[in-house]
């Protein structure tokens, strides 16, 4: 078997999620390689080697500096065909998902997503996937090669079980249509206020709070509890609160001791970012909110009365 892992990098570091996939792949398949695509890749190949890549393929060219999927489809498709690679694995992300989807169509190759685990079953690769809002665990497979897989964020921890890799430069040759989309600017705000990665308690406000005017109420509760305010994508995209507070697939993956969600529906892209929280409490006026299915305490009620009351009670208790 031969396995290729797409390593996504940002600046001078490789995303933890893709390194986790690489370490897992190397444990399953001794013939595991990695591909890194961008400009000025420097020492990234050594990091890939340390995490289990026997060979690291580098497409290092200014023309592919921007993190866009379609040129990466061209490069990876050529590499897979040239080397006869059987498995291509990705840590799920905005970029990786778009590459995997394009590659699937380009190579007519099966793509399984949301994989929480990968196992070998008698020489066959099997993916373990939670489906339907994690109400069922599905074993998925592929009818042929190459097999493509997107691994859910946070499924595998990176492990430094590798060594010095063989490094090979690969050609950057792209299709006309792949270069039509261009990045004209980027806003990458840095976090301000308490970081949600590090807080033990996260008071999370979702779209159901209805108005950005509600945030002082949540800040007050978070402060009383000694935690931080976190949000969902809908809140951030609406411009109600900074991006640095967003939990989810395109935000941060967190695992606090306590997650309290107000007006959070529990859509899958949010869930993958917080399901490892030790205790989950959800308050929502909709009794059918999906978040209730994976909460330790589910409260059907109006957050506008519960939040101030809870703040008051917490302060009284802490004051006593």
């Amino acid at each position: 078997m031969s396995t290729l892992v797409f390593l996504e990098h940002h600046g001078s570091s490789i995303q933890k999620g893709s390194l986790g996939v690489l370490s897992k792949a190397a444990a399953l398949d001794p013939d595991t390689s990695a591909v890194i695509i961008g400009s000025g890749l420097g020492d990234l190949a050594q990091i890939a080697g340390a995490h289990g890549a026997k060979t690291v393929y580098l497409a290092d060219d200014a023309s592919v500096a921007a993190p866009l999927p379609q040129p990466r489809v061209d490069i990876i498709a050529a590499l897979v065909q040239d080397k006869g690679i059987e498995n291509v694995l990705f840590g799920a992300s905005v970029l990786a998902s778009d590459i995997a989807g394009g590659l699937s169509a380009r190579l007519d190759a099966g793509l399984n997503w949301d994989l929480g685990d990968l196992v070998m079953d008698g020489g066959d690769l099997v993916g373990k996937r939670s489906a339907l809002g994690d109400t069922i665990l599905v074993d998925v497979g592929w009818t042929g090669t190459p097999r493509l897989g997107l691994v859910r964020a946070g499924s595998f921890e990176p492990a430094q079980n590798g060594g010095a890799p063989a490094v090979e430069s690969i050609p950057v040759s792209v299709q006309d249509f792949s270069t039509k989309a261009t990045i004209t600017g980027q806003d990458q705000e840095e976090a301000s206020g308490p970081s949600i990665d590090e807080a033990d308690i996260l008071v999370t406000a979702g779209r159901g709070i209805g108005t950005p005017d509600a945030f002082p109420m949540f800040e007050d509760l978070a402060s009383a509890m000694g935690g931080a305010v976190a949000t969902t994508r809908a809140v951030v995209d609406s411009g109600w609160y900074p991006y640095s507070t967003q939990i989810g697939q395109t935000g941060k993956v967190v695992a606090p001791k306590l997650y309290i969600g107000f007006g959070v529906s529990g859509a899958i892209q949010h869930k993958v970012g917080m399901q490892s929280s030790q205790t989950i409490v959800a308050i929502n006026k909709d009794p059918n909110a999906p978040i209730f299915d994976f909460s330790d305490m589910a409260v059907v009620g109006d957050l506008n009365t519960i939040v101030p009351e809870l703040s008051k009670l917490v302060k009284e208790r802490k004051g006593s």
């Binding site: 989807g101 169509a105 949301d114 009818t143 991006y243 059907v300």
Partner: protein, 259 residues
Amino acid sequence: MKIAVCVKEVPDPGPSRRIDPGTKRMDRSGDRSLNAYDLNAVEEALRMKEAAGEGEVVLVSMGAPKALDSIRKALGMGADRAVLVSDDAAAGSDLVATSKVLAAAISAESPDVVLFGQQATDGDGAVMWAAVAERLQMPVVSQISELTVDGGKIQAKRQTEFGYDHIEAPLPVVLAVSDALNEPRFSSLKGIMAAKKKPQDVKSLADIGLDASQVGEPGSRTTVADLNPPPSRGDTLKIEDDGSAAQQILDFLVERKLV
């Protein structure tokens, strides 16, 4: 301006949703509706048409003939017509096979813009647009939270793990929009009545130039081998607020030594 919007009928979210243990496919016999995320794509298409002052919004879908019941909701919002590829041979199609069908149906329409919602609530893959764009050989932009169309090109703001990218691409283009991009309009009663009379073409695979070997199980590249219950989180304490919810939450947190 011609805009194609890919929409999908999905099983209603909730406990009745299941995968058939026999066929290992989604059970589509229960209550169904239009994928909620698709409404944002339909809304955006209608706004594009309104901003351009002319054009056509065409819904493109694959599914059983009865999927038209759900698709009419988007016609009621104001989409002009629907194309549904419906063929028994297409049942059980995975990403590879479904993207072939959608690309063939879209290609026949020659749209300027192809729109997708951010994911389907049954498959949750959020990859279809990339596969369709590849087959159509068009640029693709996903996770869009702001969008403008002007002078034969689009400007989009895409959210990623690192913040926002501003992306420009010429038409024709494939776009996947976030559900925060807009607030979908409701279908008015008048709209719903008008929807029944709007063109709703049901096409076979042959109509779009495909044959049975390219779709369904023969055309798919993935399999479902086994179904199991998920690992349990333990019991959920469920309450309805009777005025004491805040106190009950505090008691729960104190018991777990979290306050």
